[in-house]
């Protein structure tokens, strides 16, 4: 009786059982997946085999994702960054603040992502440090009670937390090791810095975020391709991201980024990309 019913139900199966071997897309995905280091994405190998050092003289910590990891993070994107049919058509250089409800949803979705992303170390008290909107996209920086940071880029309206491709995309950018005390006064610290490509498409994303002292009032990122991007600065954190062209199969070129930091007394200072890398990666 049950067997008959199962048999009848198979006629309703919406999928075809015909197979013709792996599609080009499937083979491409396999290559991309196996080109990434397996295991915990926060370990040294996953971070491109480069040692991520704690800052010594200044307060810079960066994390650059390898190109392979980027295949995880980002979407099918039109070649033209901001054309109407681009996934980033609505992106803006000036961020907006999400609603309280959206912040909560972004935090929940991003938290779910990191809890299920194969990270095998605890993420105690994972909560939203900062969230910002640029068009349809929400970028969320998460922090744990022991000083780890993680981030996500997502389209909340789709409720999607992660995908390797497709317009309903979010990307997990990175997860830092635990950090010590944050910056004070007018200091700025970059905690996460990632360049992610889609693997096969010609658009990627650069995301950078971190902590600031209480006297920092604004941060503007100067990208060679996109131009000036105003960061969100709130509650001791800052963040910015932008789409950028990439060659298929590669991650964005992170060279050339600089920051202008403005503090409460109106003074400004510049942070060069070399300074970031030198402080983080060592001389």
């Amino acid at each position: 009786m049950s067997h008959d019913l199962d048999h009848d139900l198979r006629a309703l199966d919406p999928t075809s059982r015909q197979t013709n071997g792996l599609s080009d897309r499937a083979l491409d995905d396999l290559r991309h997946i196996m080109s990434t280091p397996p295991g915990d994405p926060t370990d040294r190998e996953y971070a491109g085999g480069r040692a991520i050092r704690r800052p010594r003289r200044s307060r810079w910590v960066t994390r650059a994702l390898p190109a392979a990891a980027a295949a995880v993070g980002l979407a099918v994107l039109a070649p033209n960054l901001f054309s109407d049919d681009s996934a980033f058509a609505t992106w803006t250089a000036r961020p907006a603040a999400p609603s309280v409800e959206d912040v909560a949803e972004a935090g929940r979705v991003c938290g779910d992502f990191w809890r299920t992303a194969g990270v095998d170390r605890p993420l105690p008290g994972l909560t939203v440090a900062l969230a910002e909107e640029r068009g349809d996209w929400t970028y969320t920086v998460m922090r744990t009670s022991d000083g780890q940071f993680a981030d996500c880029l997502m389209q909340l309206e789709h409720g999607r937390w992660w995908s390797s491709r497709g317009p309903l995309v979010t990307g997990g950018g990175g997860l830092t090791p635990p950090l010590a005390e944050g910056p004070t006064a007018g200091e700025l610290e970059a905690v996460m810095y990632s360049g992610s490509g889609s693997g096969t498409d010609e658009v990627g994303v650069v995301a950078i975020s971190g902590r600031v002292g209480p006297q920092v009032v604004s941060v503007v990122a100067h990208d060679l391709t996109v131009g000036d991007v105003r960061a969100t600065v709130a509650d001791g954190y800052w963040a910015a991201w932008w789409p950028t062209p990439v060659a298929p199969g590669t991650a964005p070129d992170l060279d050339g980024l600089t920051l202008t930091v403005t503090v409460a007394d109106g003074s400004t200072y510049e942070v060069t990309h070399e300074e970031i890398l030198e402080d983080v990666m060592g001389p």
Binding site: D8, T15, D29, R165
Partner: protein, 187 residues
């Protein structure tokens, strides 16, 4: 200081073999539960998670397939949270069950339309219980693992789902009660 260039060769070979042998099944699993245009994306996500959790990937192919289904189910569940609940949870049925199908046996088409109608009247939980068995071919322990419930709970749910399906068939289409859907004629 040493760095590893990748997983043990056996592990990588197993992953590749598993990928090649389960991809179609996993794709169908996702296509039944998500918009087909996103299915390949989800499958890629699932295999990436599996790659990251390579030591957890069962070394038995059938178990690995069920384990991958479980990751896909969780992935899709996360994706559904921002969408309309009913739309998100309902499993699609074949959209080729049209009475106008050229060459189709009218009785066959009518019976399947009845069954499809009854299917759509089921709760999402009952649809899922039936689909995991009839479409995905999972055993009760495997289906239970996908759903995150005990095998006993799954068997109960499956039993109730079958009863509910028959009830809907009886109520909506009394003539269909007890009628087996004829098999499609082979052309």
């Amino acid at each position: 200081m040493t760095t590893s260039s990748g997983p043990p060769r056996d592990d990588a070979a197993w992953f590749r073999s598993c990928y090649e042998q389960t991809y179609d099944d996993l794709l169908r699993f996702v296509q039944r539960r998500a918009h087909p245009s996103h299915a390949e994306d989800v499958v890629a996500d699932v295999f990436l998670v599996a790659w990251r959790r390579l030591p957890d990937l069962p070394r038995d192919l059938d178990c690995a397939r069920a384990w991958l289904f479980g990751i896909a189910y969780k992935t899709l569940a996360n994706a559904r949270r921002g969408q309309d609940r009913r739309e998100a949870l309902a499993l699609r049925v074949a959209d080729h069950l049209q009475p106008t199908d050229a060459g189709a046996d009218p009785d066959l088409v009518a019976a399947r339309l009845d069954l499809a109608s009854a299917w759509r009247s089921l709760s999402a939980a009952h649809q899922e219980a039936l689909a995991l068995r009839a479409w995905d071919g999972l055993t009760s322990p495997q289906a239970a693992a996908v759903l995150g419930i005990s095998p006993t709970a799954y068997r109960l749910r499956l039993s109730r789902a079958r009863r509910a399906l028959r009830t809907h068939l009886h109520h909506d289409h009394p003539a269909a009660d007890g009628r087996a859907v004829p098999e499609a004629s082979q052309s």
